[in-house]
Structures are given as C-alpha cells and as structure tokens.
Assembly symmetry: C2
Homo-oligomer: 126 residues x 2
C-alpha cells in the first residue's frame, strides 16, 4: 500500500511539529489540505474508537481479530476504516499468518497535538 | 445560537483533558461520537485556514471582513464554515455594528491536543 500520505505532516520539522502551530501563523492552502486529511480521518466515531483501542493497547499492537468483536459492523467495514487510518499515517500494520496486527504511529498523533496546542508551556521531552 | 455542542468535551475534567487520552484507554461510543464531531469540524481545509487565521491573530480577534478576502468563496460559504467551527466550540463570535468578530476558544484546542498527545512529558503549565 502506498504510504504517500504519511509524509504530509512535514516530517523534516526538527521540532516534531507539523506545520506552524495553529496559533503561530495562518496555514497556507497546501498545509491546510494536508492537515485536513488527517483530521478527517479522525472525524468518525468508529475510526476514533479503533484508534483508541489500538493506541491504548499495552504491548503496542492489536490483532484485527480483537478489534472487530467490539463493533456491530462487518469485517470489510472495519477493514475500510482501518485502511483510512493507515493512509492518514495514524496507524500501521503487518500481516502474520492468518491475522493482521495494528499499532499506532505516535509521531503523527504528537504532531497533531503540537499543532493544536495553544498554550506554550515549559516542556521537557521525556 | 445553541451552544449545546460546546459541552461535548467533558469540561468538568479537572485536568483540562477531554475524555481519557487516546493512549490511556479505549473510548466508549459516546466519547467517540463527541470527539469525532470536533475532528470532523477540523477536517476541512477551508475551516482549518479560517481557524488558523483567527487563532493566530495578534489581539485575539478577527473581523469577518478580514477573513473573506483570503478565500475565493462566497460570504455565505465562509459563514457556513465559521458556523460549523462555532458549533464545535472551536471559536466564538460577537456582532458589533456591521461586522461579526471571531476569536478562538483555546480550551477546546488544548483539550484536543491533550487527547491526542501520546508522549507523557514532564510539563508545567505556564
């Protein structure tokens, strides 16, 4: 699968930020288009629940077989939502035998968090 | 205008967080539905540009008359996008004479940032 969309957030930014912060300067059209794709991927309750199930899992990864029973949705529908999260660079996956295993990509989540954050707090990276 | 949707983020949370953090515990259906509305509001390039123009403005507020010239869109279309941002609790506004003035609501932005952030850094609130 193409990972073209994984690079949308300006990964060369040394500060780990994506684009200028929201309170720093107005976004240009390209930056806004790229970020909007990511927020759109988050703008669905099923995808948010899937992402939180994956991101909060101790051990860091989840078998798709553990995700689908939580939803009253078909496997193809769940797979479609997972694909959109993956295309946005929010999760990644690997097939092992019968099952596909998913994990969150914290760099993307943290870049979005840094973009949204308005209060400039003193902060030390752990 | 109803501000019903402004309370979706669990403002009673003393930590200023909205719901559990994404990496903390899976969201329940209600939490996911509420957060998805907010991310959906951010999931459009025009709305993201409007929000960044408003949030980054020195002085804290922007006349709608300064927003519309930046877009090749009709005034009603801009107003519609602003309304969606307002319904999500991301901005608020006030009419003064001829014009409407907009400002960002940092509490909502910071709650979303806290929700997305995966790295638990030592942090002191300024």
């Amino acid at each position: 699968m193409s990972k073209q969309e994984l690079v949308v957030l300006g990964q060369s930014d040394e500060n780990g930020g994506c684009c200028p912060g929201l309170v720093t300067t107005p976004l240009d059209e390209d930056q806004a288009a790229e970020l909007a794709k990511l927020f759109k991927a988050l703008g669905d309750p099923v995808r948010l629940r899937l992402l939180s199930m994956i991101a909060s899992r101790a051990g860091g990864e989840v078998c798709v077989c553990d995700l689908t029973p939580a939803f009253d949705l078909s496997q193809p529908t769940i797979s479609h939502h997972l694909k959109l999260l993956r295309q946005a660079g929010l999760i990644d996956c690997e097939r092992r035998g019968t099952w596909v295993y998913y994990w969150a990509l914290p760099a993307t989540l943290d870049r979005l968090a840094a973009f949204l954050k308005t209060s400039q707090t003193a902060e030390t990276t752990a």
